[in-house]
């Protein structure tokens, strides 16, 4: 009797397992779609507030300082070392093809098209998306968002819009500064350690770098800024209660912003450079 029950359970459990797997995948896919849909609706709602008064200029200026100015040192340092390492790697590769003269050009193009905006995006995502997510989530759990409403102030206008405008505007500036410092890093290593002629290095960099290279990198940076601010604000505004909710909002902001930056970078690279 006992054996027949176990047999029946075995016969039942096998198809249940094979049904459970697609169910889990399906649930995950639905959760991802709902999440993306919520973020898109959140962004559309925020964009609707961008063009409608009142405008909180003081908060916008504060956001520009927080997101742009205070990110400059870390972005600059990262770009400097990234540019230097890039020069070393390209020199090692181009030496195998006896085309060492390509180093200045590839360092410059690599920095302005890819490394500058992407590194800048990832660093600002780590620094700013987390802080935006944590700040708004903390405001939510301590009733500050409700307090804003009782003071006749729309939280999206006051908290989200200034951060989105600030991040979208200052990211190209940050990426531009990062590009220059990165190229400088490559220049210092190439002329100081690899024996390149400084005048020739600068000449090659300027002559072969095209406007479209720079513009595409800056456009990417602006899109990354938009992504970082929207994601930070979204996870902050939709956080759970208590310290756990704030912690989760912070982690999710950084993780989601980083993944979306890499994905958006690929999509924009396809768009800009496929031809």
């Amino acid at each position: 009797m006992k054996g027949s029950t176990e047999l029946a359970r075995h016969q039942l459990s096998e198809p249940v397992f094979w049904l459970a797997f697609p169910a889990v995948v399906g649930r995950l896919a639905i959760r991802i779609c709902v999440g993306i849909g919520s973020i898109v609706l959140f962004a559309i709602d925020a964009l609707g507030h961008v063009v409608r008064p009142p405008f909180h200029l003081r908060e916008l200026w504060q956001a520009i300082l927080n997101i742009g100015f205070y990110s400059l040192p870390i972005v600059g340092l990262t770009a400097l070392f990234a540019g230097a390492a890039l020069a070393l790697q390209i020199q090692a590769g181009s030496a195998r093809l006896s085309s060492e003269t390509a180093v200045p050009v590839i360092v410059a193009i690599g920095m302005v098209r890819e490394l500058g905006p992407v590194l800048c995006g990832l660093i600002v995502a780590g620094r700013v998306a987390s802080s935006i997510g944590a700040e708004i989530a903390t405001m939510k759990v301590t009733d500050q968002i409700d307090a804003l409403r009782t003071l006749s102030t729309h939280p999206t206008k006051f908290l989200v819009v200034p951060r989105i405008i600030a991040a979208t505007v200052v990211m190209p500036v940050l990426a531009g500064v990062g590009d220059i410092i990165g190229i400088l890093g490559g220049f210092l290593v190439s002329t100081g350690r690899l024996g390149y002629n400084p005048d020739l290095y600068v000449d090659f960099t300027v002559r072969f770098l095209e406007t479209s290279d720079v513009v595409s990198g800056l456009v990417k940076a602006a899109v990354f800024g938009f992504i970082i601010s929207v994601i930070g604000c979204y996870f902050g505004a939709n956080s759970g209660q208590g310290a756990k909710g704030v912690g989760r909002a912070t982690t999710n902001s950084v993780a989601a912003a980083s993944v979306l930056i890499i994905a958006a970078n690929y999509a924009m690279t396809e768009l800009f450079f496929r031809s």
């Binding site: 009142p54 909180h56 405001m139 301590t142 009733d143 409700d146 409403r149 009782t150 003071l151 102030t153």
Partner: protein, 259 residues
């Protein structure tokens, strides 16, 4: 100084706050089961009840911060919603934890509404009004440039009260005003609320479980239990009513109909 903001007219005999058969459920948890109450102009109303009975939910419905399932909620005759907090009435609110904005100084908190919106005043005037309101709640003007994190819990609450009264609102809401304060500071806050609500016909709506608050400043009281009003009357009847639920709550007894 009154900051001029358009206020819907209210008939003299019309209640300022009106709830009719208000119901609200969260998934698997019916919180409000037909709550009806009225608060008249100039009244100091206290909604009392144990933790988790739905007091905060009622307050959020009145403000329009959350939608409700059934019934009617009106403030000054208007339906509150997220786009029309408290039906567009001129309100001030003291939150349980103060809810001061961390990133702003005390002055920026108190003057928040004074320097924004349709009735905005100059920065100098806002500073003057803020100093006066801080003085009204027993704080010195010299703390104006401090951040909330540099204040004690009691001072934060007073600063929150100064922010709530900065624009001389018509209705003041108090969410557990004495929670987290020692008895002396709690008594100070109660006296302040009593004075402020009594001034110039301001209507007060307080949710609390602190009976000393109720005795200090309430003129009318309602007891909420299991999502329903089980007693409603004048504050003077608190000690004379023979309602068993009220008796148990007022005496703080573990035995009785309130479980």
């Amino acid at each position: 100084m009154k900051v001029s903001v358009a206020t819907p007219p209210v008939a003299p005999d019309e209640p300022v706050i009106e709830l009719r058969e208000l119901t609200k459920s969260f998934p698997g948890n019916p919180v409000l089961r037909g709550v009806s109450l009225e608060v008249a102009k100039g009244e100091s109303f206290a909604l009392i009840g144990g933790s988790g009975t739905g007091k905060s939910v009622i307050l959020k419905c009145i403000l329009g911060l959350i939608p409700w399932d059934g019934g009617i909620v009106r403030v000054n005759g208007n339906k509150p919603s997220l786009s029309s907090i408290a039906g567009g009435a001129r309100i001030g609110m003291l939150f349980q934890g103060g809810a001061l904005f961390d990133s702003m100084t005390v002055f920026q908190n108190v003057a928040f509404q004074l320097v924004r919106g349709p009735g905005r005043v100059s920065a100098a005037e806002a500073r003057e009004i803020a100093a006066r309101k801080l003085e009204r709640v027993g704080l010195e003007a010299k703390i104006m440039d401090l951040y909330p994190s540099e204040l004690s819990g009691g001072m934060q609450k007073r600063a929150g009260l100064a922010r709530a009264i900065a624009t001389d609102p018509d209705i003041l809401f108090f969410d557990e005003p004495t929670t987290g304060l020692d008895p002396i500071r709690a008594a100070g806050i109660n006296r302040l609320i009593s004075g402020i609500v009594g001034e110039s016909g301001t209507t007060g709506f307080t949710i609390t479980h602190d009976m000393s608050s109720v005795r200090t400043f309430a003129s009318k009281v309602a007891l909420l239990h299991s999502g329903q009003i089980v007693w409603n009357g004048a504050a003077s009847e608190l000690d004379t009513s023979d309602n068993s639920s009220l008796r148990q709550f007022v005496e703080g007894s573990a035995r009785g109909p309130l479980t």
